[in-house]
Subunit: 332 residues, 2 copies
DNA sequence: AGTGGTTGAGAAACCCTTTTCTCAAGCAGA
DNA sequence: TCTGCTTGAGAAAAGGGTTTCTCAACCACT
């Protein structure tokens, strides 16, 4: 391991050419004899030469670096998104600056400025809610911005899971299982995903010629506790459901636990479908949850690729990109 | 918003000085009249000048950039660590390259090479297990490396939670609650944390003059299912415990659920303490779990700061740094 | 007037790579 | 032999900063 990094001067000297020639040989540009090109390449390889990206970026105006902004420290959504971004971009030789800003506008501004100073080619903004923006305005930057799983600007690319399609899949699955009286237990009505999923729930029932029960949609918090409570409410009435579509896996788990405590068998008496495919919840539920996966890693990948296209000046359709969800069938 | 970034040439021209003088004025180096310095600064501010980090790094040999390598995409441990790193470093003007490598040596090598090409000042390696290394050798790099929550080289700085201290706190808490017959349900014996926590469990009991029950330590998987099963085993015997220290929160939750199903009240009949303070599990348990928090965000912060000190050539004590855990008392 | 020390600021080199422009050599054709 | 074209390679500038070195101007003393 050479303690000092080799420069192109070292390569040029060792190959007895100028740095210009060396550069051209290594980048496969310019004109020279195949023999010279090969010789320079061999020498570079022997010396373990690796070009200094900084110097290269200085002239090329491309740093092959993007910034990833997130407001989520503990949640489960951003990690797969980030992994997807990282994975999607490494193939293009692009590295990712990670910045966590957690609802702090000043911190966010500092991070954005730092990224801009480091000449990022673009920025990906990601968060935990699709209906809340990050605490910083990214609309007039000199670099392109892509939003993923957070509220984006209308004139920018924004990637979100297709909640409606995912919810349809879930309800259709219940219907295909022969369920007729299907309820929906979900989170706070202030969340857009709640509205989307609830709308899809109603539509799916209508489309199948089933009626939406009078108190079919129960809104509460995103917690197991609420799933538990909601089942208590449902079972206190006369028209008990035989299928439940839950707004997330935690609610579903609370519901399944409550059903078990009432000696209602899942899935023979009642089928339950969750949302999120949060494995730690879904797989530990007894029985394991059938649930909707939002394919967040893929979403992150696409966000990265979209940004690269924008950076390259390629045409990219602006607006909301809804990426399909898939149903993971387990035991519930 | 100027579409083209201002350079120091623009500042120099506007202030009618040379770039050398401008640079010195802005960096508070060199000699010049206070008046000139102020004027240049004012001009720079007006123009919205921000120095190009790339150009600066090229001469200074410091990129104010570090790489963060992780093998964890879905787990819960790395996200707070990463957030802590990011938080601890931004104060030093250092940005973080995020790289997820997930057990893929080739991918890891690509990422490391990319980081080195981008002249990172150092690398932080982080993972999900303290007794498994990342799939890439970082021992002969030209930049310093700090390990956090992953197996590090003996001659490097490695930060891990103090499992022993955390476990002692947990068991002492049970003892302070007056519990006499304390069991330990934990994960696979192949994990070093299992050994550490189990050792601390035994030692704490001895120190308090309590005996370790014959089958006091039950090793299994890290799942709720196993916590459930283990309680069944314990309660099938004669010598039922009145306190349970669990190796993680999932096991604890399984145990608490099993106890409830047996009509054993938590915490009046049996006290349970978990490990990890994984809020999504601990807070949703009925009753909410008392558990050990590993302070992972702080661990990440420290990792970042340690790396900065290494980069600055300051003395840093090598070896294993064990960071204290804290007990979060809830309802169990 | 000559000497010496300080002050303020600029010229130029440097960091590493890419790129444009120039140019000598070689060759074909007239 | 002269002209014109192609080929291979290098000189130099650019990219945006930092830093070292130089130097003129000014002041205070002899």
């Amino acid at each position: 391991m050479p303690s000092e990094r080799m420069t192109i001067y070292d390569v040029a000297k060792a190959a007895r050419v100028s740095t210009a020639t060396a550069s051209k040989a290594l980048n496969d540009t310019g004109r020279m004899s195949a023999e010279t090109r090969d010789r320079i390449r061999r020498v570079a390889l022997e010396l373990g030469f690796r070009p200094n990206s900084l110097a290269r970026s200085l002239t090329s105006k491309r740093s092959f670096t993007v910034g990833l902004l997130t407001d989520d420290t503990y949640g489960r959504f951003t990690l797969p998104v980030m992994a997807g971004v990282s994975e999607g971009l490494i193939d293009h030789g692009v590295s990712v600056f990670l910045c966590t800003v957690e609802d702090n506008p000043d911190l966010a501004k500092i991070h954005v400025d730092a990224m801009l100073d480091k000449q990022v080619d673009g920025i990906i903004a990601t968060g935990k809610r699709i209906d809340k923006p990050l605490p910083v305005d990214l609309s007039h930057l000199s670099v392109p911005v892509v939003y993923a799983l957070t509220e984006g600007r209308p004139d920018a690319v924004t990637l979100v899971p297709d909640d409606r399609q995912g919810a349809l899949r879930a309800v259709e699955h219940l219907i295909a299982r022969g369920r007729k009286r299907i309820a929906h237990i979900t989170g706070p009505g202030s969340f857009r995903v709640v509205q989307e999923r609830a709308g899809a729930y109603s539509d799916a029932l209508c489309a199948a010629g089933l009626e939406v029960p009078p108190a079919g949609i129960l809104r509460g918090s995103w917690s197991e506790r609420w799933g538990h409570e909601a089942v208590a409410t449902l079972w206190s009435g006369a028209d008990r459901p035989d299928g439940i579509f839950c707004g997330n896996d935690q609610i579903a788990r609370g519901a399944v636990d409550a059903l078990r405590e009432r000696k209602v068998d899942v899935p023979s008496d009642v089928s339950v479908v969750g949302f999120d495919n949060w494995e730690i919840v879904a797989e530990q539920t007894r029985p394991p949850l059938t649930t909707v996966d939002m394919n967040l890693k893929e979403l992150g990948r696409q966000a990265g690729l979209a940004l690269v296209r924008l950076v390259n000046g390629e045409a990219v359709e602006k607006g909301l990109w809804k990426l399909p969800c898939s149903l993971v069938v387990r035991g519930s």
